[in-house]
Structures are given as structure tokens and as C-alpha cells.
Symmetry: C2
């Protein structure tokens, strides 16, 4: 039996679609952050939906686990098999077709394996764009972004991946195909299966193709670096821009400590403003249609008013594309800088937007008070109520020992604060395998029971990404 | 046992919350369209979430079915128990609190029993609005709108109910409470339970409270009645308004036949334009913020250009609120006029927006050709790819006999056309009990199997609205 399934899959998928070659497979068995190392019986790479469906059907019949994987850039080890080596690694990377025939209606159809950056390029050639981007865009696939309901800096205006998926095709756990690619604005034929599958991390179905909403290409933009006294002032600036919401593309906050660290760590960076400010904001307004207002003029007016009102201490609008890129380079270097700085704990959390300034202030104070020598640092997507909340170890800490001794206690303190704000312990990174313990501890009994029940219902033999997202009781691995 | 559950519920809920009085209960046992008549063991009306949770817990323990009900204005008999009289009718109407404390952040919290019109009034007093309305607003409750993922004429800009629910509280089938009311823009703690519960028609959980997104009150608006030569011209007019999308609040299409019928049936109505046109459009642009463009000027310019381009035959912009109301009175009288006109079949269907003109033309031609004497009539939400597709009986048809002889065949022809456009046989009305047969016939095996599996997973004893939404195999009634 175990022989025959491998043979059947090898015959079905051919040499490009079935391999056990260690040199080929091994690079895909460690997660993006290098913390999880798995093993696989083989790597399967179906060439189209029909091969994928037959693959799932065969594996279901033999109760062989499948761990789906796109670009393997996830932050929560959701695409790494366990170390037993029983599971098949299921690469979706060959499902890489792009169909732009509906582009005039604002839609593009993509295979799960399409790399985000390639989609950007293809759409740019057609005068359109897909308004979601992230650091790993050169490797991340559309299927992975869908499976993890990815976010990023443009969620503010365009929503996360779930809001951008207009239609979906997915292979269910028994190998049947759910083809709901038609982009219907209204559809009440029972439960929202599309929304359910988006963000389910390959545990309910394997996404094979999606129809995505596109936006018009950007005609021009204006980007400002803004110095403010507090995260609360940053929030009030965001609200002062309510009138510009339809053109407000990005709004990111950066504490002074993060800026200072980037300036010290990344060669060629320089402070955008002359003076010191406790907090910094990058604001971007865009124009997508000729009849929209000129972004630069709007931004100048809004910032002038905010300076007058005492909300903003100082601001600089980028005078060139180069200067814009310099602003964004600082923002995008924070994660790397923090990793280089020394041991730290990262949390990707959200609370209601209006509560975020208070959350940052109170959580930072509590952590630094209870764990002397630590430094809290929150940066990111204020407009989504989502920050990356890092806690740096004391200067003299030894990485591994500090993690072992304080890691859980500090994270639990951060997450307890999140709970007290009715927030989320995973805003955009998902659960995968890395946050299972945190989910078990911080999700409500009603949520945990519902997740487990739905998983069992749609994947009764637990063959789709076992060990990911669903805490142990619901997993048979 | 059967005695004791009634006694326990009566004690728990008190005289306002438990009644078997026929005069009180009977009016709620017939559906809105008067086609389904049910029976109930008692009517339960919990006063708050905790009474509701305990009610569900008790009924779950005794495997007593609960049929949840709001204003009983659904179009698909989703809130009418069957005629056996075993089930409890569960009224959510006493859960009628409104909390406006987050109104400055754009949110309002409502109990499931809040009547839509009351919410409109309360928000208007605060300079805000809830951008969803429908004919039954004086009776329809927020809980019912959430359970059916209601639509209406403002979905174009604001989305349907699922897009407007930012947070939810629901009682699961075992009586545990899922409290996810916090309006989080980003949350990846596993499956999208909120989106799953919205539109589940009370079959997965009982919605007790929701946090809804609000919009700013409208400062001014401009409404035009537009005559065009075809549904395709109407679609091209919609696309010509792409530049006004952020202020385009409503865009409805009306065929000439529907207009003529309304003018003949409803006293005091008059044709908005002097000449005859094959199709009519009502367009509404609004301004919510002082810095947005003046709607009237925008609409005048856009229509002038469209007349010049030969897209629009003629147009009139309402010169007063009275005239605006006259335009909308025509639109809102279509359903009533069609009911009065004679026997007809109604279908609430959607296809991808761009395909709708072709769908209307091809489906009308096919139905009228195959069923001589019938007249097809499509009107409604073109911008959502959603029309109400009516088929009038031949002049000499006898209502009941015609329904019996041709009803299923005509509806199947319409729905087969919907299938061929990859559309939905229920765009905004849901499935309830009235469309179960159609769902069984026209949903894919993967969708049907998933619906049934999810239902069994979250309501294993089938006590939540049994007989609604899930075709027979998944129901034990």
C-alpha cells in the first residue's frame, strides 16, 4: 500500500511533479525564520487543478498527510511538515498562470503559485495594480497570501487578502473541486465558504486559483515623514486625514528608538527631519484617476493645518522618488535592524484602532516595569490597529537563556494585555505551528471549539496540513 | 422531561419571555410572503445574552429545536417553524439595546432585536447613519439582517451586511457565547467565524449582538432619472461613473414595462421623462464630508458627457427632495405593482457585474421563447450584478395551475442560465425553507457537502433552525 501510493503519485505527476531528491526537497523543509525543520516523504508539484485534485483524492484514500506550500515565506511555520517524514510536501508553485482577460472589469485570475512580484509586473503592463505588497514579494505566492489572509501596509485602504479575493477555486479534503471563481458581489447560497477558506492556512482546503480585485495604477503620490510627540498624536493625525481616506494609501508609525537603530545599523540612511521626535509617521496619499485631487497639495494642506493645531511637530514631504524610497527604506529596515540588534520577542497584535495608542503606552510600561532592563518597541500599521510589538532583552542578556527564562512570561503579559483590549494575538501572521500554544491559551473556548469542529467537518481524516492552526486536541499528529 | 423543559424555560424567562398564548404566538407563525404556516410549542423571548445562552443550553440538553426570529420579514421563510409544533419559536426582539459610545470611531453596537428604522433614527441624531435600508425597515431587525446577510440598494458602495458587521456576539449550539464584538481590522486567529455566522440564517449560532460600521450623515445628494436604450447602455453609464465611485450611493435599473405598470397601478406617480425609453436608471451621488465634490455638479457633468457620447438618451436631475422621493417611489413600487399585476415567478439572482446585460437579454429571450405568452422583467441592482428577474404568466393564465404546470420548469430555466454565467440563484434573499429545492439542484456537490458538514459540526443535534438552509440530507426533521 505505502509503495503503491508513491508509485501512483509518481505516475500521475511525472518527474517534474514528484520528487524525493534530497537536494531538491531539503531547502523547502525549513521555515522562513529558520526555527522549524521538517521532513517529507516526497515533494509533490501538480501542474494544474486536475492533477492537484487527483493528488488530494489519492492521498485522502490512503490517509497520507499533505503540507501545502507556496513560497515558504510565512512567519508562523505554517508550511513546514513535522519531523516524522510521513507527510507529503505539496508545492503549489507550478500553478502559476495569470489570466488578465477581466482586467477591464477590475479582476485578475491567478494560480496559487503565482509569485506576488510577477503579478505586480504583469498588472503594471496593463495599467493596473494589485494593492498588497510585502517584503517577501519576490518569493511569496498568491496561494500562500490567500491561505494566510496576508496583510501589509495597504490594508488601511484596500483591506487584507480576504477583502481582495473576489472568487476562489479550491480542492476539498476528498479531492472534489469547489469552483467559485466567479466574482459575485452578492451571493447568499449558504455559508461564506470563500471567506472561510481564505486564512485557513491549508487546513480546510487547498487553494488552487483565485480571482483578485485590482486597482487602477497610481498616477502620482505624495509621501511625508512626520514627527509627532506621541502615538496618540499619530492617531489624531490619522483622524485629521479622514477627509482624505479615499486617497490615503499608507500610514505607518515608527518610534524614535527604532529610527535611531536603523540609522545606526543601515548604511546610507539619514534622519528625514533635523530635530528629534518621540514618534514618526510615514503618510502616503495617492491619485489613481485624473479627476482625483492632487496628492501633494492635499498632504501639504493637511500637514500645515496639523502643525498649526499643535498635532504635528514637524514634517517633510519627499521631493523626489528617491527621497520617498529613502523614507520607506527606513520603515522596511526595522525588522532586520531589530534582528541584528540582539535577542528580542516579536508579537504581531491588533486592538480596535482607537485603542492602539493606549495599548502601546500601557503595555510598554507594564512590560518594562515587570521585566527590568527590557525595552518595548511598537511600530507598524496604526491605521489598522495593528503593531509589531517587540520586546528587546536587557543589554547583558544571553539570547537562548533569556528566551527560555523570560520568553513565555513576557509574551503572556503582552497577550494578556491584548486580551484586556479584546484584541488579537495574531493580526496578520496567522497561527501556523509557531503560535499554537498562544492560540490555545488566549482564544475563547467558543472559538477553539468552533475551529476544531470545522476542521474535523471539512477534513475528517486530518490530512490537510495536520499540526497547523488547530491546537493539539484537534490534531492526530 | 417534556414537561420539565417548558417549566424550566418559563421560570428562566418569566412571563414576558415565555408564552404559549395563541393570540400572541400565531401572528409570528406565518412567513412574510404568507406562503408558509408553522406551529410552535412556545415562543421564547430572552431579555439579554445571558438568558439567551441559558435558553440554548437548556434546549440543547433536551434536544429541543429553536427557530430564531427577528422581525419576520425574510423573503425565504427562514424564520417559520414547520407544522409539527415541536420547535420553540425564539424571538430575539427583546435584545434591543443600542450603544453609541464608539460612534466617533465609526461603530455602533446593537442588540439583535433592534429594528432597522430605529437604528437609523438614533444614528441620525448623532450625525451618522447606517448605510443599509430596505422596504421592511420598520419591522426588520438587525439580527435578521445579519442572519440573512441582507443587501439592498446601497451595497454598491457599502457592501452587504457581512461587510458592515465589524464585530459579533453569538450563542453557539451548546449555549457557549462567542464574544467577538471588538471591531478588529486585522485578526488571523484561525477561521473567519464572524463571516461564517453572518448569512448562516440562524443554523450555526444565534446572533445576539453586533458592532456595525457607520457612515457619516449625508450632507447633500443629487438624484437623476436617466433614459437609456438597453441594459448594456446602463452598464456603460455605470462604468462612465467610475470616477465618482466614492460618492455613488445608488444605481438601479428599471425596464420600461415595469415603469409603465407602476404608472398605471400607483396613484399619483408620473413619468420622470417626456419620451419613451427602453430602460431607465436611477443614479444617486452623495456628499458626506464638506471637502467632497458637490454631487449635483458632478452628476450634471457626467450625464452631459454621456448624452454627448450617445450613451444616455435623456436625463432629469431631481430639483427637490419631493422630486427625488417621486423617483424612488417608482422604484420601490415595482414589487407591489408586479404582485398586483397577476401571477408571476420571482428570482433573485446575481452574475458577475459586467455579464449582467447579456444575462438579462439572453435569459429573457430564452424564457419568452420557450414559454409563449410569458413576459420577463429584470430590475434592480445592476451595479452589484444582481437583478430581480420576474417572469409574468401569460395574460390568460390561471395562477395556481400555471404555477403548478410551469413554475419549476421556468425557474429551472432561469437558474440554468444563472449556472451558465457562474452566478448565484440567491443573491440577497437567502435560502431559508423556500429555496431549498433550488439550492439542492443548483449548488455544486462541493458546496452542498461543505454546508452540510459545517452545519453538523457546529450544531450536531440540529437544534438551530432545523429545516432551513441545509437541504434534507443534512436535516433530521
Amino acid at each position: 500500500m505505502t509503495q503503491s501510493i508513491d508509485t501512483m503519485l509518481a505516475r500521475l505527476l511525472g518527474p517534474r511533479g514528484f520528487t524525493t531528491d534530497a537536494d531538491t526537497v531539503t531547502p523547502w523543509l525549513t521555515d522562513w525564520r529558520g526555527r522549524y525543520h521538517g521532513a517529507a516523504r516526497a515533494m509533490l508539484s501538480p501542474a494544474d487543478t486536475s492533477e492537484l485534485a487527483e493528488t488530494v483524492r489519492l492521498c485522502a484514500a490512503h490517509q497520507i498527510a499533505l503540507v501545502p506550500q507556496g513560497g515558504n515565506t510565512g512567519m508562523a511555520a505554517g508550511a513546514t511538515p513535522d519531523s516524522k517524514g510521513d507527510a507529503m510536501l505539496l508545492s503549489l508553485r507550478r500553478l502559476d498562470t495569470i489570466d488578465t482577460s477581466r482586467i477591464a472589469d477590475g479582476f485578475v485570475e491567478c494560480g496559487a503559485g503565482v509569485i506576488l512580484e510577477r503579478l505586480h509586473t504583469v498588472l503594471a503592463d496593463q495599467g493596473a495594480r494589485f494593492p498588497l505588497s510585502l517584503g517577501a514579494k519576490g518569493s511569496a505566492t498568491i496561494g500562500g497570501l490567500v491561505a494566510t489572509n496576508a496583510g501589509g501596509t495597504q490594508v488601511l485602504r484596500h483591506g487584507n487578502m480576504r477583502a481582495l479575493v473576489a472568487g476562489i477555486e479550491a480542492v476539498m479534503a476528498d479531492g472534489t473541486v469547489l469552483d467559485e471563481r466567479a466574482p459575485l458581489k452578492k451571493d447568499n447560497r449558504g455559508y461564506a465558504l470563500r471567506d472561510l477558506i481564505v486564512g485557513s492556512e491549508g487546513t480546510l482546503a487547498i487553494v488552487s486559483r483565485v480571482v483578485l480585485r485590482t486597482s487602477p495604477a497610481i498616477i502620482d503620490r505624495a509621501t511625508a515623514w512626520v514627527g509627532v510627540a506621541s502615538a496618540d498624536a499619530a492617531y489624531r493625525l490619522l483622524r485629521a486625514l479622514d477627509g482624505q481616506r479615499e486617497q490615503l494609501e499608507q500610514f505607518e508609525i515608527i518610534p524614535d528608538l527604532a529610527l535611531e537603530s536603523v540609522l545606526g545599523h543601515v548604511a546610507g540612511t539619514r534622519a528625514p527631519l533635523a530635530g528629534r521626535h518621540a514618534w514618526h509617521v510615514i503618510v502616503e496619499l495617492v491619485r489613481e484617476r485624473p479627476d482625483q485631487r492632487e496628492p501633494r497639495e492635499q498632504l501639504e494642506n493637511a500637514l500645515a493645518k496639523s502643525i498649526e493645531a499643535g498635532l504635528v511637530e514637524n514634517a517633510a514631504i519627499a521631493s523626489s522618488g528617491r527621497e520617498e524610497a529613502e523614507f520607506w527604506r527606513i520603515r522596511e529596515s526595522i525588522s532586520e535592524t531589530e534582528r541584528a540588534h540582539g535577542p528580542a520577542l516579536q508579537h504581531d497584535v491588533s486592538v480596535p484602532v482607537a485603542d492602539m495608542p493606549r495599548f502601546i503606552a500601557e503595555t510598554s510600561a507594564r512590560v518594562e516595569d515587570q521585566f527590568p532592563g527590557t525595552t518595548a518597541l511598537a511600530f507598524g500599521h496604526l491605521g489598522d490597529g495593528n503593531v509589531h510589538f517587540h520586546v528587546r532583552a536587557p543589554e547583558d542578556a544571553v539570547a537562548e537563556r533569556w528566551h527560555d527564562e523570560c520568553g513565555e512570561a513576557i509574551s503572556d503579559m503582552v497577550y494578556d494585555m491584548v486580551d484586556s483590549f479584546a484584541g488579537s494575538i495574531s493580526a496578520e501572521h496567522g497561527i501556523g505551528r509557531a503560535k499554537l500554544r498562544d492560540l490555545s491559551r488566549h482564544a475563547s473556548p467558543a472559538r477553539l471549539a468552533s475551529l476544531t469542529a470545522i476542521k474535523r467537518a471539512l477534513d475528517p481524516h486530518n490530512i490537510l496540513n495536520p499540526g497547523a492552526l488547530i491546537p493539539a486536541e484537534g490534531s492526530n499528529t
